[in-house]
């Protein structure tokens, strides 16, 4: 790895910023993915309904607001919630995650989210991924900002890896993060006799392209490293079963391979789609929850003892309106739920400054309030698991604190 290819500081101004933060001198001693820990940030796109995933079954108002879609209280049959702490339950489809919760491997953070008032999926996703409240103030995602602030000249190409067809906004920005759809497809498929000539011509011509040179150069180099480590040859371990028809499961399977192969991942972003339930909430969230449950569980089973280094955080752009609509669904709301799993997480607890569901306690047109900023959650994970960084610089306009009690 060399600094020219990496182009990790695209602008000279940032060098000054790094210098000012006072820890750049120690960077050269870091291994290629910091301290070896990995954080996987999973985004549930479409605004997941926190009040179904983690129903506050003991809140007297819950079933008034959700007469036909409320998840029954524990003990109410196979469709009922699984009890978490006597007040909150976990959706019945999150069965494997319930085992993780009781085993102390998963924590729930409720009434969490972004304080921004937006009820637009797209604006709210942008805001959350940028890590700031003004979507026009920066085009750099929070993950990218972290990576840039902690960059070193011997960074692995895989240090920031976005898994999926496109690159999540959280990963976009000055730091050249890598995008991978699947490891199998991340190779040049030219015919045998043309491989070498085409590869070198691609390298030469893309190196001169103003907007694509870094991405293309890193892609070509990353291919070489994947081949050299036979990452495509790694199969799931410990009997883990990934559903090949689930895009989330496939993404996590590939994330697990990169981690197992020690490619130097520090921050990985993955997506789960289709959480927008304006109608038919009961059936559709059951389907999504099953997918989430199976995929996350497979990932944790697969990694086995490697999970000692891996922390997962799950978020969504906002929650849904507290009361259901006439279509048996819910419209766009505000506060939602987050999950944290794996290394360093003080599991088996629901962290919630519960705002309540009485009419006077609801936000705006009838939404759950946000009492825990998602950046308090991300901040506590970064502080506990990742490299030393000034969190204020990762989330520049956040004035709150981190969520204590979440991480060891």
């Amino acid at each position: 790895m060399n600094i020219n290819r990496r182009n990790f500081l695209k602008t000279s101004a940032l060098a000054g910023v790094l210098g000012a933060s006072g820890f750049s001198a120690s960077l050269s001693a870091m291994p290629k993915n910091g301290n070896g820990n990995v954080v996987v940030a999973l985004f549930l796109r479409g605004a997941a309904d926190g009040l179904s995933l983690v129903p506050p079954y003991a809140d007297n108002n819950y079933y008034n607001l959700r007469p036909s879609t409320g998840v029954p209280a524990p003990g109410g049959g196979s469709d009922a919630a699984q009890d978490l702490d006597g007040f909150f339950g976990l959706h019945p489809a999150l069965n494997q995650l319930y085992q993780r919760f009781t085993a102390g491997e998963m924590a729930v953070i409720h009434a969490a989210g972004s304080p921004h008032d937006s009820h637009s999926h797209f604006e709210a996703q942008d805001i959350m991924e940028l890590g700031i409240q003004d979507p026009l103030a920066s085009t750099q995602g929070w993950a990218n900002r972290y990576l840039e602030l902690t960059a070193s000249s011997d960074d692995s190409l895989f240090r920031g890896t976005a898994i999926g067809t496109g690159m999540q906004l959280a990963m976009q920005g000055n730091y050249a993060a890598l995008g991978i759809e699947t490891i199998e497809n991340f190779d040049l498929l030219a015919s045998e006799g043309h491989q070498d000539a085409l590869r070198s011509l691609m390298k030469a011509t893309y190196a001169e392209d103003a907007s694509l040179s870094t991405t293309a150069g890193n892609a070509l180099d990353a291919m070489d490293e994947l081949l050299a480590n036979d990452v495509a040859g790694l199969s799931p371990q410990n009997g883990a079963q990934y559903d090949e028809n689930s895009s989330l499961a496939v993404a996590l399977m590939n994330a697990a391979r990169l981690i197992r192969a020690e490619m130097g991942c520090e921050l990985i972003t993955v997506d789960s789609n289709n959480w927008d339930h304006h109608d038919g909430l009961v059936a559709s969230i059951n389907d999504r929850a099953m997918d989430l449950d199976a995929a996350l569980n497979a990932f944790m089973v697969d990694l086995g003892t490697l999970m000692d280094r891996v922390t997962i955080v799950v978020m969504s752009e906002f929650g849904r309106r507290a009361y259901e609509n006439a279509s048996g669904g819910t419209d766009h709301g505000h506060g939602g739920v987050m999950f944290a799993l794996g290394a360093g997480v003080q599991g088996g607890q629901v962290l919630a400054d519960w705002p309540g569901l009485q009419e006077s306690q609801l936000y705006g047109k009838g939404d759950l309030q946000v009492t825990t900023d998602y950046r308090a959650v991300l901040g506590s994970i970064i502080e506990a698991r990742m490299q030393p960084v000034d969190l204020q610089s990762v989330f520049p306009d956040y004035t709150g604190s981190i969520l204590s009690g979440l991480m060891v």
């Binding site: 933060s21 009820h119 976005a162 030219a190 392209d209 520049p396």
Partner: protein, 512 residues
């Protein structure tokens, strides 16, 4: 429960100075043009005006389309393409009818077919759309139809949208693509696919569903910063109560008065008096269509699609003025766009989206394509596999904002690798069952590295390369031979494949 959130303050004093630098300094790259110049003019000579026009207004230049444009001239070609109903495209129409019979079927027949197999419409709308993009002579029309299908996006695999999309593409998008925006907006509001996808079919006085009303203002008309409030969304939703789907009607639309909210509504300061029925929604749509905020939002979006990720304000304002002068006459707006100086000087500023990249590869290389695959077989088609891998299989964007338009959404390394491989597999005969080039046709009479390089560069790129880039292609072909050395016949075909693979995967083919 009852966990005390003991919160620690971040070390804000040190942080703020750094935060300020990040948000305001050049490192924040507020202006993507600054950090990502899409066009390095010094490295690549500009193509001529007509090539630029065809690059943007078609799905890729073919020898025929170039000949047509050359004989007509710039402005006449634009006008010709903007009257697609007058263009003889009978071959394409006949092929579509034959291969994709549901495309022009009536609603009853579509619904019957859906009843027999709920996926029967999916492969037909994807297949027919790809067919038209690749072969239609109404190229600009197809590009504009694609724009409206994105603007009013529905997700093809959302329940009955699998079939209703066929009707919507024909009766809403194609019918009104070059008409008045207000007519298009109204037709879309009544479209059964949209009514289903954004849940207005179940929006009733007893329980309003605000999904459509919100996206109508956020995505279809005013834009997220268009000045509406949460109250406006709720009030607008009440205007559309009772608008629903009824497949017994010819257009599958129904206004069910018993579900409508007859009380007064106020949206964006306009009162819709008590006692009105369907007029509430119709008047609100007309109000939104006439709004200058809508004109500016939609015109900017058109410019982002056809001109630049950061289009010049002057051009946006020209189009807004045309919109206001012509009551949203889309044909006039597009005409003003393509004849503008800003458009003509925007060469190379757009990064091809995956679908456009793929079809332009097929058209430029005059590839043979298996078009007759229907039903579930379509999923096995190598080109569909690539579109899925690249995230742009037709009509499969799940959320109502439609496929993104700007480069940063499409240029990650995962996407780049798939873009290269699509070119390699097409040119190297690795997907020959589904699509393949004909290297004999591409090579023509070329006998030397120089001749073959020039021929391929011209046919695939329709432009000159810099001398050093041309030499790279010559050297790839000649493997060190002088550029005027005669090549063995056996080598010409192999080198045609290799050089075609390279040119289609090269940086010069990614932008336009």
């Amino acid at each position: 429960m009852n966990v005390e959130n003991e919160r620690r303050q971040w070390a804000a004093n040190l942080g703020w100075a750094i935060a300020g630098a990040l948000l305001s300094g050049p490192a924040a790259s507020r202006n993507p043009v600054q950090t990502k110049p899409a066009w390095n003019k010094a490295a690549l000579p500009e193509a001529d005006e007509l090539v630029h026009l065809l690059n943007r207004c078609t799905y890729g230049i073919t020898p025929e389309s170039m000949a047509e444009a050359e004989s007509m001239g710039y402005e006449a070609w634009v006008d010709w393409q903007l009257e697609p109903e007058l263009i003889d495209d009978s071959e394409t129409d006949a092929a579509v009818d034959e291969q994709f019979p549901l495309i022009n079927a009536d609603l009853d027949a579509m619904i019957d077919a859906y009843g027999e197999n709920e996926f029967s419409g999916v492969s037909q709308i994807i297949g027919a759309t790809l067919y038209r993009m690749t072969y239609s002579r109404r190229q600009l029309f197809e590009r504009i139809v694609e724009f409206w299908n994105d603007h009013f996006n529905v997700y093809l695999f959302d329940g009955p949208v699998r079939m209703l999309k066929l009707w919507e593409d024909r009766e809403v998008m194609r019918k009104h693509a070059l008409g008045r925006f207000g007519d298009l907006l109204l037709a879309d509001a009544r479209s059964p696919a949209m009514l289903y996808y954004l849940d207005n079919f179940s929006n009733t006085v007893e329980g309003p569903n605000e999904n459509y009303a919100r996206e109508l203002m956020e995505l279809h008309t005013l834009g997220v910063d268009g000045g509406y409030t949460e109250t406006d969304v709720l009030e607008a939703a009440r205007c559309f109560t009772g608008w629903t789907v009824d497949t017994r009607n010819e257009d599958a639309f129904s206004f069910v008065s018993s579900r409508h909210d007859y009380d007064e509504k106020v949206v964006l300061g306009v009162t819709y008096p008590a006692g009105q029925g369907i007029e509430d929604g119709e008047q609100l749509l007309a109000y939104l269509a006439a709004s200058e905020t809508t004109a500016r939002f939609v015109c900017r979006k058109i410019c982002v699609r056809f001109v630049s990720d950061n289009p010049p304000e002057s051009l946006v304002e020209t189009l807004v003025q045309t919109w206001l002068d012509t009551d949203g006459d889309l044909r006039q707006i597009f005409r003003a766009l393509f004849l503008s100086d800003e458009f003509k000087s925007s060469q190379g500023q757009k990064f091809k989206r995956p679908l456009n990249l793929m079809v332009s590869m097929l058209r430029a290389s005059q590839a043979w394509v298996l078009t007759s695959l229907t039903g579930m077989g379509l999923n096995r088609h190598a080109l569909i596999t690539y579109l899925n891998r690249l995230g742009q299989n037709l009509f499969t964007w799940t959320t109502p904002d439609g496929f993104p338009d700007t480069q940063s959404a499409w240029d990650g390394s995962a996407a780049l690798v798939s873009r290269w491989n699509m070119a390699f597999e097409l040119a190297e005969s690795a997907m020959s069952q589904y699509a393949r080039i004909n290297p004999f046709d591409l090579a023509g009479e070329a006998n030397t590295p120089g001749e073959l390089a020039d021929r391929l560069i011209y046919q695939l790129l329709y432009r000159e390369l810099s001398a050093s880039d041309r030499k790279r292609v010559v050297d790839l072909i000649g493997e060190g031979r002088p550029e005027n050395a005669r090549l063995p016949t056996s080598m010409i075909i192999d080198k045609t494949r290799e050089a075609t693979a390279f040119l289609l995967a090269s940086p010069w083919f990614q932008t336009y």
